[in-house]
Symmetry: C2
Subunit: 390 residues, 2 copies
């Protein structure tokens, strides 16, 4: 309890853009997010009043941080499960709980659990020997998708394996390095979808409209809300699936369920248990943002209204370009002049080519129009991008 | 320039709720508002990363604060004009400029200027002797409204004077205390309106829809956006008046023009040159909040879209009740359970009876419904309020 405000203190482990935007939402609720950051130039450390420094893999640092927090939650999935269990045993309230978070930390455990729950998986198998990978490929047809069970994101930790020769060699190398692996069939996908739900300890669940996520080179570049031309029954099925998963896994906070839409229905791709890039559109596009909703969930407040604020909402990620060129400040000028309705979110990050440095959200009535404007806005904000690339 | 982000640094003098909500808006723009606060428990100091402490009447403190800021702006009107002039002469960029801000600091100077500009004033006169006040009352009819030229807010510094006897006594006392005074006719008012505009140094001006402000005991309790049943031509006239004033006075940043709607037209009540309580509804109710707009203006960015996000937006202030009773945390629970769409903003303030400790905004289609829900939400959040008062 913060004696100055009479409100509980929420701590977030990790100081990236998710903590940054959660702090922004916390301010309205009378809160000030307590952040465990790695360095003073972390996105959240640049803007939050209450920052501690320490490594999220260091139990002592986590323990110190948790002191005085009424509840602790996470900006990422990289806190070791055993630390979460230890602190939980010591009486710290951590959300999502270790037993839930495990399914966002380890893809193999997730697939096992989804299989047990009867949720829609692609064909998959754990890979503990090169022979198992080869056998799976021969059985399902090449190529297949080899995945590291832990640590991958934005396309990292995922390999498209073309044939038996490549499979044997790659699996041997990775297994020798100690990487826990699984393999999945290469799904014939129409597109990727995502659905956000929040769940409170009390058990209340609130689902957001299903969105389409557009990837390029394994990185999400665009989110369209609601997912265009998605049949009502498929949208309801996706929301129900996310609600069922949140409940079955005991999630507390936001759950993002990333889905493949295939000719035969929906298949789960990945889970994230925190505010997620596929939900950034909710800041202006939904009556309650995923960041406020995550806070409400971990505080066990009732969930907020998830309805859309416009018929069409498009979020485009701003990726870092080559250094140099027109400054970000000048780029903002140009964008705001051209698009008075563009809602910009910059994360305070140093620019590296391909790194997500912000996002921009546009709202409107016509999908093609809003989408084109959002894409152009994101391109304009990309540092190092020259007009010739238009 | 912040070398970590490549973006200019905005400093705000004053650490109240306006700075708190401006910081919230700054985060999206890649900024972190630098705040000059009085104490660590000021609303903005509780949430901002970059806080300095010092008194806004202390030139040395202001000078130290301004160092390293690309632009300095204000959370209130209480910085002495001479300090703003001194720092401007020393090369500090301060917005709004001293010559503009003066009209929000001094009601007498405002009335003189509005008269010179031909803007709609009530009948008024400066009061330098008790006899002048009495003469004005005899001429215009009692009661009249006596005002301190400087320092009043929320009904303070305003006296309703009933007759010549009271006038002579009150004026003598106040003038002896060194208070600069003016008197205004008591306007027959239908209701109070307000209109927000933003102006950039480049000269771009953007106006928000005209709103109705509802006062109780001299304190704004409710804002209805857009102002219900306001004839189109009157709305346009109010917006044009605000745009003309912003331009004529050389305002940079937000300008709030508080208006009386009278049987014979609109009359200016007061001016504020900063984000203002009558514009808090813009956080969720307009595509660009007044806080983001103020930042865009002082940074000389192009102005954002000011259109409404719903047909009806109602903001209700949350006032402090008697201490004790149900905690604010528990009140939030109840409110969120009953109103999933209520958008709450708490300022991190210690509760004192009648003090504004936050506000709540509701959006919808039906004015009576939205208004009733907003008023109930604000009542529920009022500490010390018991159910019997319902």
């Amino acid at each position: 309890m913060d004696s100055r405000t009479g409100l509980p203190v929420v701590g977030m482990v990790g100081g990236g853009q998710l903590a940054r935007m959660t702090h922004q939402a916390a301010i309205a609720l009378g809160q000030s997010l307590r952040v465990l950051a790695l360095a003073p130039d972390d996105g959240a450390a640049l803007v939050a009043a209450d920052v501690q420094y320490g490594d999220h893999t260091d139990l002592a640092a986590l323990r110190t941080f948790a002191k005085g927090c009424d509840v602790v939650t996470f900006d990422h999935e990289h806190v070791p499960t055993e630390h979460i269990r230890t602190l939980t045993d010591e009486g710290v309230k951590l959300f999502p709980p270790a037993d839930a978070l495990l399914h966002a930390q380890d893809k193999r455990i997730m697939r096992e659990r989804l299989t047990a729950l009867g949720a829609p998986n692609p064909a998959w198998r754990p890979v503990t020997t090169p022979a198992e990978l080869v056998a799976f490929g021969e059985e399902q047809g090449w190529p297949v998708v080899l995945k590291a069970a832990r640590g991958g994101y934005d396309g990292r930790g995922v390999w498209m394996v073309a044939d038996a020769g490549q499979a044997a060699e790659l699996a041997a190398t990775l297994l020798a390095g100690g990487t826990s692996l699984l393999v999945e069939e290469r799904v014939t996908l129409r597109r990727e979808l995502a659905v956000q739900v929040a769940r409170s300890p009390f058990g209340q669940v609130a689902a957001y409209p299903v969105v389409e996520t557009v990837q390029r080179d394994g990185i999400c570049v665009e989110v369209l809300a609601p997912a265009p031309a998605l049949p009502e029954e498929l949208a309801l099925a996706a929301q129900q699936l996310a609600i069922d998963l949140a409940t079955a896994l005991g999630v507390v906070g936001m759950l993002a369920v990333e889905l493949f839409e295939t000719p035969t229905g929906l298949v789960v791709n990945e889970l994230a248990m925190r505010p997620h890039n596929s939900g950034h559109w909710t800041i202006e596009g939904a009556r309650t943002s995923q960041f406020e909703q995550h806070l409400r969930a971990v505080l066990d407040y009732p969930m907020g209204d998830t309805s859309l604020t416009a018929p069409v909402v498009v979020m485009a990620n701003v990726l870092g370009g080559e250094p140099g060129g027109i400054s970000i400040d000048e780029r903002l000028h140009h964008l705001f002049a051209a698009e008075p309705g563009a809602k910009v979110h910059l994360y305070g990050k140093q620019v590296r080519p391909g790194r997500k440095i912000g996002h921009v959200t546009l709202l409107g009535d016509d999908l093609d129009d809003v989408r084109a404007r959002a894409a152009r806005a994101a391109r304009w904000l990309r540092e190092g991008h020259s007009e010739r690339e238009e």
